[in-house]
């Protein structure tokens, strides 16, 4: 580290300022008078992403995950609440099945900051990326089948369950995952029905949020991952399809219950 020759190490205050300034984009008002911003991930604040993932997800992501994240531009963002990094979203572009889709690898935020609207800001960001791109067929992710609040959260953005992957997760129970997708172009696959719990309005208890947050997070096993996952990350099972989500959702879920009813 000390021998890093990158100029930004020598003059970090100059080169890193515009990159790390969380308020460089327009703040979104969050709940309770908080401000929400998205900020770029750089080598200087990468550790914040690691720390967040460590706390929010029960899984350790490998070094390659973090190296890649530095080079995907807007596909990876830190979320700031009142100027403090409290969440992050990391995506990549997936071209399997002759489709061009955005795959949400992780999306999460610290438990204390859930229900502030941070998750919505991140999903909105992802959707606006697709819109700007114009050639995306859809956005998809994996979610543990027991993670009701996450499922409900994505449902409100127009995601559908298009598949179930059995034994997608290696070390957590239950090991099965839903594939959630929001189709943007073309014919959407025929959606499976929502789990009853969610459909019926859900009793996601508050304490459960964390549980969901963590378990929901989960990575995908390589075995289950699709071909490009394997190609990209042959080494670790952890690395590919992590979908995490759940995040701020749990009160969003509450809200949603009210509004959708």
């Amino acid at each position: 580290m000390g021998k890093d020759k990158d100029v930004s190490v020598l003059f970090p205050s100059v080169t890193s300022f515009p990159k790390t300034n969380p308020t460089s984009t327009c703040s979104t008002p969050g709940r309770y008078g908080g401000r929400i911003d998205l900020g770029t991930i750089t080598q200087h604040n990468l550790q914040q992403l690691k720390r967040l993932n460590q706390v929010v997800f029960p899984v350790a992501y490998n070094e390659k995950f973090y190296i890649d994240v530095l080079h995907v531009g807007d596909l990876a963002k830190l979320a700031y609440f009142n100027d403090i990094a409290v969440g992050a979203v990391c995506c990549r572009i997936d071209t399997s099945n002759n489709q061009r889709r955005l795959y949400i690898m992780t999306l999460g935020c610290l438990a204390a900051y859930r229900n502030m609207g941070i998750g919505k800001v991140m999903v909105d960001h992802v959707l606006s990326l697709c819109e700007t791109d114009g050639k995306m067929d859809g956005v998809y992710l994996h979610v543990q089948i027991s993670n009701d609040s996450a499922i409900e959260f994505y449902r409100r953005f127009g995601f559908e369950i298009i598949d179930v992957r059995e034994n997608y997760y290696k070390r957590i129970e239950p090991p099965d995952a839903y594939v959630l997708q929001k189709t943007l172009r073309g014919t959407p696959p025929k959606p499976l029905s929502w789990p009853n719990r969610v459909e019926n309005g859900v009793d996601v208890d508050r304490g459960g949020g964390v549980e969901n947050g963590i378990e929901g997070g989960i990575e995908g096993g390589v075995e289950n991952g699709n071909a490009d996952n394997v190609a990209e990350a042959p080494v670790t099972p952890v690395e590919n399809g992590l979908d995490k989500s759940n995040i701020s959702e749990q009160t969003l879920t509450d809200n949603c219950v009210e509004s959708t009813d």
Binding site: P12, N45, Q48, G207
Partner: protein
């Protein structure tokens, strides 16, 4: 030319060309001409040419040749002003200013009206603060060349410095009439200077005010004008106008608290209510200004304070103001305010946890960050109060809540450090700095923590992440005059027993201060030329006070105490840096040491590589420069790299210490340790009157316990340092008074000492006095240490064991209750380890550490093995298990 030997035309022309080359810094060319003259056997010993040749050599870095040539030249032509002038220049370039001044005076003897020499002389006189001499030289220059405005202003400044205000003002008045100024701004500065001079000269305030008003239009520096005017109006009693001025100033800058004080004085507000009303008004007018919100907290009391403080805290906790605690810390000196603040913040905490509001009556819910900043504040609050378990608890809660906030980790590092856990402190800061590697402040804090933990090499690696490429860490830090670092290195090295390294760091800092004083030189001519006289005069006065700086005081004290150690225990010089590990921990320690050594070796290897690379680059650069210009020049005398070994093996530790002692006495007379250290040095030098002077000065500082009041002296109230000094003095006097030949001294000593309480006089049972002192204040570690050191000094042969025993014979509970700081304990430990209490069995040191551990249960710095438990653990970042529902 008064020179005895004059050259014929041809050689004379050559000589002129030498001078020209010198002025243009073409030193090698100059040497060629000199050679041409000297090769003529008739002029081979021509003094002025030899002298010039020497000067040229000097600038090419050949010091020895230079001195030899110049001296030879001078000997050959003692009546030449050129030779003397050259001799002066040569010495000046070596910073031998006294010699240079003498040489210039000699030069002027042979050429009294030489303006160039006079100018050089005047600069040196000012640099040496020979103000009278400066004034005289300036006066002559003025008379010789009265058409030059520099000569006018130079003389005016000189008159100002020696306090001849009347003449200075008269000249300044004349100066303005002569239309010397080029720009409106210069004119404005001269006017302000004149007003300042009038004020300094004690002219009536109304005269100065009238002068300012007359010239108001032409004074461009409105800020200085208003500040000056406001101050004068208050002094003059023109309160109404003063209030107007201060209102204007506040309007310019609503954050300057001095303006508010000025306004309060001008409005003659006395009651807190009036003042608070004023601040309320200012706050509504400048809603974003912090000062009108913060200052009322200083004034308000009781319930008013509670109301204001609540609002103040609430807004800032909601907004997230990291230095909030720091901004309020000064209020903590007031015990009542401390209690109020504590109750407010604990209330906030309770309410936030239960209902997400600061107060039940609030109408809106708070964002999660409000709780976060409240926890942060709570931790700092309890840290301040010394309730370390609560401080640790709150900061851990905060980190569980939000593990990504760097301020929290820095706060935890502070808390752990105060607990005596420097290693834990380092871990926090390492994590903090990893979270934002672009933050140099955090990087520096981390380096500081490493130093506190005694890891000098690693600290260097840490700061090097921000240093320039191709430069060793130490040379970079030296060049940047990075004194916070060097001071801390000095402290650390002394604690670790690396006395040579400590001295080296102390001397580095000392050199910076020499450098600061040197740096004035260029300003003497520049400021006068540019007519920025007001700041210049202030700059001169400030430079004279520079060594009051805490950095200088710290390294001076360290240097003196190290020199004392070296004098008293010459054996320390050859002591191995790492003391032998304690038997029971030996095996473990060995492993740790190997590891540490490996780490060290790696750092060292890296450093060497860097130094090597640095050197090669520099050589390359030098070669390149030499080729480019055909010259190499050295403007400042090359400082020799400080050698810690050489410093350590000084033959004259006391003389070396004396320099620092004198600086301390001059610049830090208000610090008691100045006088206590001075006493020790004078004791070793055997100077009774100086010893007594030091004791008296220290006594004055801590209040009078000298026993002048009749009645039984309460020796337990005596400062332990003064206790030691008096005993040691009387002890010394008993053994040495007979050998004193000067009876005046004896009489004075007897007169002074007879005013001390009887137990401290030379005829008393000093050992008993010392022991009594302990029995009366048995629970203070500082007292114990002072008594132990005194015992060791009184009876060096049998003392050590007894002395050491004093450090162990505590009743833990009682000691715990009295206010003992970790610093006291560390000082005691250091004395045990460096052998100043006599050689001890290592097991006793371990025993002492154990006692300290039970005294400071959260500490790790007294672990038997310093490396305990940290190296083995892979540095896994702790995972903060997040628990939802804890707070909401």
């Amino acid at each position: 030319m008064s020179s005895s030997t004059t050259l014929p035309t041809k050689e004379n022309n050559l000589f002129k060309r030498i001078l020209k080359s010198y002025e243009h810094k073409q030193y090698r060319t100059g040497l060629k001409f000199a050679k041409q003259i000297l090769s003529n056997s008739k002029f081979a010993e021509h003094g002025e040419t030899l002298a010039m040749k020497g000067l040229l050599h000097n600038y090419l870095g050949q010091k020895e040749d230079a001195y030899e040539l110049v001296r030879r030249g001078l000997k050959n032509d003692l009546r030449s002003h050129v030779c003397w002038h050259v001799y002066g220049l040569l010495q000046r370039s070596d910073r031998k200013y006294d010699g240079a001044i003498k040489a210039y005076h000699n030069a002027l003897k042979w050429d009294p009206d030489n303006v160039q020499i006079m100018r050089d002389l005047s600069l040196l006189q000012l640099q040496m603060r020979d103000n009278e001499g400066y004034c005289k030289t300036r006066g002559r220059l003025f008379k010789l060349r009265p058409n030059n405005r520099i000569n006018w202003m130079g003389y005016i400044v000189a008159l100002n410095l020696v306090g001849r205000y009347k003449q200075a003002l008269a000249m300044l008045e004349q100066f303005r009439k002569l239309q010397f100024v080029d720009t409106e701004y210069e004119a404005s500065e001269v006017l302000l200077y004149q007003a300042q001079l009038m004020d300094e000269a004690g002219r009536p305030t109304d005269k100065v005010l009238a002068f300012l008003s007359e010239n108001q239009e032409r004074i461009l520096d409105k800020l200085s004008f208003l500040e000056f005017q406001g101050r004068l109006l208050v002094a003059d009693g023109s309160y109404q106008r003063a209030a107007e001025v201060y209102n204007q100033l506040i309007d310019r800058n609503p954050e300057n608290s001095i303006y508010y004080q000025g306004l309060i004085t001008s409005l003659r507000l006395t009651s807190p209510e009036e003042k608070l009303a004023l601040f309320a008004e200012k706050h509504s007018r400048y809603p974003r200004a912090e000062a009108p919100q913060r200052l009322p907290l200083d004034i308000a009391q009781g319930e008013t304070f509670r109301t204001i403080a609540k609002l103040h805290l609430k807004e800032r906790l909601r907004k997230g103001v990291p230095p909030l605690f720091l901004n309020l810390k000064s209020l903590y000196e007031d015990a009542e305010k401390l209690e109020i603040l504590e109750s407010i913040i604990l209330d906030f905490y309770k309410n936030l946890c239960s209902s997400r509001k600061f107060e039940q009556s609030d109408d809106k819910l708070e964002p999660p960050t409000s709780l976060l900043w409240t926890l942060y504040f709570l931790s700092q609050h309890f840290d301040y109060r010394g309730k370390m378990d609560r401080a640790v608890g709150f900061i851990n809660d905060a980190l569980e809540h939000t593990p990504t906030l760097i301020e929290l980790l820095m706060c935890k590092a502070d808390v752990l450090n105060h607990c005596g856990d420097p290693r834990g402190s380092v871990r926090c800061l390492e994590e903090a700095q990893a979270l934002d590697t672009a933050d140099r402040y955090v990087n520096c804090e981390c380096a500081l923590a490493l130093l506190r933990d005694g890891r000098v090499d690693e600290a260097g690696v840490m700061v090097s992440r921000f240093t320039r490429d191709g430069c060793t860490i130490s040379s970079y830090l030296r060049e940047m005059q990075c004194m916070w670092y060097e001071t801390k290195v000095a402290l650390t090295e002394k604690r670790s027993g690396h006395l040579g390294q400590c001295l080296k760091a102390c001397h580095e800092v000392d050199r910076h201060f020499v450098e600061f004083v040197e740096d004035q030189f260029d300003f003497h001519s520049y400021c006068v030329r540019r007519l920025c006289i007001r700041p210049y005069i202030e700059f001169l006065r400030e430079t004279d006070r520079l060594k009051r700086h805490p950095f200088y005081a710290t390294v001076s004290e360290l240097a003196v105490s190290v020199y004392l150690l070296l004098h008293r225990q010459p054996g320390l010089r050859d002591r191995k840096p790492d003391p032998t590990p304690e038997p029971e921990a030996a095996r473990k320690a060995e492993r740790k040491q190997r590891k540490a050594a490996k780490r060290k070796a790696e750092a060292e290897r890296q450093r060497r590589m860097e130094e090597e690379r640095d050197r090669m680059r520099k050589e390359q650069r030098d070669r390149k420069r030499a080729v480019d210009s055909g010259e190499t020049e050295s403007d400042a005398p090359k400082e020799q790299e400080l050698d810690s070994d050489k410093l350590l093996h000084t033959e004259t530790p006391l003389t070396d210490a004396l320099r620092f002692v004198n600086a301390l006495r001059e610049f830090n007379p208000a610090s008691i340790s100045t006088h206590l250290l001075a006493f020790e040095v004078f004791l070793e030098l055997g100077k009774p009157l100086m010893m007594l002077q030091a004791v008296a000065a220290a006594t004055r500082l801590v209040g009078n316990h000298s026993g002048l009041n009749p009645g039984p002296p309460d020796i337990s109230a005596l400062h332990p340092g003064i206790h030691r000094c008096r005993i040691l003095f009387s002890h010394w006097w008993r053994r040495n008074s007979d050998s004193l030949t000067n009876s005046d001294v004896s009489e004075m000593v007897v007169a002074i000492v007879s005013e001390w309480p009887p137990p401290y006089r030379p005829d008393a049972e000093l050992t008993q006095t010392n022991e009594d002192f302990l029995t009366r204040t048995p629970d203070s570690l500082a007292v114990r240490l002072a008594v132990a050191r005194t015992t060791a000094s009184l009876a060096p042969e049998s003392g050590p064991r007894a002395a050491a025993a004093l450090l162990f014979d505590w009743e833990l509970d009682k000691v715990r209750e009295s206010a003992n700081s970790i610093i006291d304990a560390l000082n005691a430990l250091e004395s045990l380890e460096n052998g100043s209490l006599g050689e001890l069995d290592p097991s006793r040191i371990v025993e002492f550490k154990c006692k300290c551990r039970s005294l400071f249960p959260l500490s790790t710095c007294f672990n038997a093995d310093q490396d305990e438990g940290t190296d083995d653990e892979e540095e896994t970042p702790q995972t903060y298990q997040y628990l939802n529902g804890d707070y909401f």
